[in-house]
Amino acid sequence: MRLGVKVRVSLRHLSSRPFQTISAVFVVALSSALAVMLFLLAQGLRDGLIRAVEPFDLIVGAKGSPYQIVLNTVLLQDVPVGNLKWSDYVSLREDPRVDISVPLAFGDNYRGCPVVGTAEDILRIRGGQPVQQWIDVAEGRWFDKEFEAVLGAQAALESGLLIGDTFRTSHGVVLGEEHDVSFEVVGVAARAFGPYDRAIFVSIESVWESHDHDDDDGEEEKDEGEVTAILVRPATYPDAYSLAVSFQHDTERQLVFPAQTAIRLFSLMGSGERFLSIIVYSVAACSLLTTLLVLYWSNRDRRRERALLYALGAPRGTLVTISWIEGTFTLAIGALIGELLGRAGVYAAFHLLGDATAIDLSAPMTIHEAVIPIIMLAAGSFGGFLIALSERTGDSASLKIR
């Protein structure tokens, strides 16, 4: 029998049992989609985190969990652990081992976008792929006096604020009591492809002042306020270690290598991922078994038809091939739909997550995420082959089955 005819016979068998076929395809598609989604999400989170960490060589922050510092400073998430004194910043700025130091003050927001009190030195930080200026002005200008603000690219979209608009910040990470003073938008930053796209940059002095105003004694002299964290770019590589040593026995401050912390975070994520993988693999195995069972039963149902074809002179190999094509086709369609569904799901998830954290999750697609669908296809195809082979074809008694 020509191959084309075998394929057509297989497809006819499948199309004449739409319920069985569709449920088998559905089961395979769903579990492949789960696997693809898990893989791409993990990959995307990892890539996003790596990209977000890049501009941060070293961070000096208050004593506490280094994870928390990375979360606050790099990802702009969660509440800060504590604050440093302005003098801490000044001494770092004067330190010959430090090339660039950028003060960062968090704690206020405008409609959920974090307000970052900082200094012009932040414009000297480089990062990204390819390496370029991390924070750059795309429209308008950088702030040069108090109560001027530069919006991150995403913050500009989310807040709807335009250059020239004024707004009032609130205390807290999300919502909170509104401060008395208002800021004027003077510029919009270029995309940084990271959490800082949601930031609103203001001078650190204006953060202090907006808090002072709330105390209602406007006469108070400009007090040197606090700094949440200091982004440090060491002059040389050995300087980084020398700095680390100086902070080693500090009881109030600590120096964090964000890249190392991120790596430790990955290994934490990794064990969670492994657990999820086990679940996904189990789901895939179950759906594979279900599919093979469906194949087995539909093969059994066709015992009489196989016997008939056999009696007409179709060799056993032809019958095995027809069953095998049926199974493989079902699995291939299921795996393909699963792959597409998984990608679609991940794009949706990336969109939601990306908006909430500004972590860039536009991970490029790799062959790896197709591993589960491919394994399922291969294993199922082989299983289908065994099932097709095991069917009693040469049994003349099958001809008597009604």
Binding site: M1, R2, V5, V9, R12, H13, S16, R304, E305, L308, L309, Y310, A311, L312, G313, A314, P315, R316, T318, T393, G394, D395, S396, L399, R402
Partner: protein, 240 residues
């Protein structure tokens, strides 16, 4: 029949025993000798259980007999190196009592699929199918599924399928048993007519007296005496 010419079909000392679930063997068929020529029409009769179906299965090489010889043109059907599938596809047409057709395929597709299995060239198959469909009054039903046909139409389709590749022998296992007398007559006329035209040997199992009368030769099978279970019985192996 000229004794000096090799007969088309010769059966010698044919015997078949089925292995029972308890391991013993049950005698199913005894046929000492039979000769048949091309173009003959032969009825195999006998009560139910006398081995008619078993004989036809053996002639189609669907099962290997326990012992005995089946020679077509002097060649042993069960000789080593003889492909059973090839024999069935090229030389045998088979009509079963019922449920002859593949349910997921139309009448035309059933015919063309059989032709494909028998390696009939595509254009010849189409022509042959068309002429058979006209001749057997199935043209209007060519796109119907078997479930949409009457029993008579289904058996006529089975007859068309059995001869589409111009086989040397057509085996029909009680082809009219599930039909009323009128339809049975039509189907049997067509079957006998088609076989006679193409010098095809027709062997039809039947236990219907009216059918028997139509045949020039009748082979009567008797139910074999119950087997004496013993080690002398050769094991029955089915052809794979």
């Amino acid at each position: 029949m000229n004794a000096f010419v090799t007969p088309f079909l010769e059966i010698k000392e044919l015997r078949h025993d089925y292995r029972q679930p308890d391991g013993s063997y049950a005698q199913a068929l005894r046929l000492d000798h039979l000769l048949a020529a091309r173009g003959e029409a032969l009825a195999v009769t006998g009560p139910s259980g006398s081995g008619k179906t078993t004989l036809l299965h053996i002639l189609a090489a669907l099962i290997r007999p326990t012992c005995g010889e089946v020679l077509f043109d002097g060649h042993d059907l069960f000789a080593a190196g003889h492909s059973a599938a090839r024999w069935r596809s090229l030389s045998v047409g088979y009509v079963f009592q019922e449920m002859n057709l593949l349910p997921d395929f139309s009448v035309l597709e059933n015919l063309l699929l059989a032709a494909e299995i028998s390696s009939v060239p595509k254009s010849d198959a189409g022509e042959r199918a068309d002429s058979l469909l006209h001749r057997l009054d199935l043209w209007d039903h060519r796109y119907s599924r078997p479930s949409e046909l009457s029993l008579g139409e289904q058996q006529r389709t089975a007859v068309a399928r059995a001869v589409i590749h111009s086989p040397a022998v057509v085996l029909a296992d009680e082809p009219t048993a599930s039909l009323d007398a009128e339809n049975a007559g039509v189907v049997m006329d067509l079957l006998m007519g088609l076989c006679a035209e193409s010098q095809t040997l027709l062997i039809a199992a039947t236990h219907d007296e009216a059918m028997k009368k139509r045949f020039e030769r009748v082979v009567n099978l008797r139910r074999p005496v119950p087997a004496a279970v013993g080690p002398e019985l050769v094991s029955s192996r089915e052809v794979i």
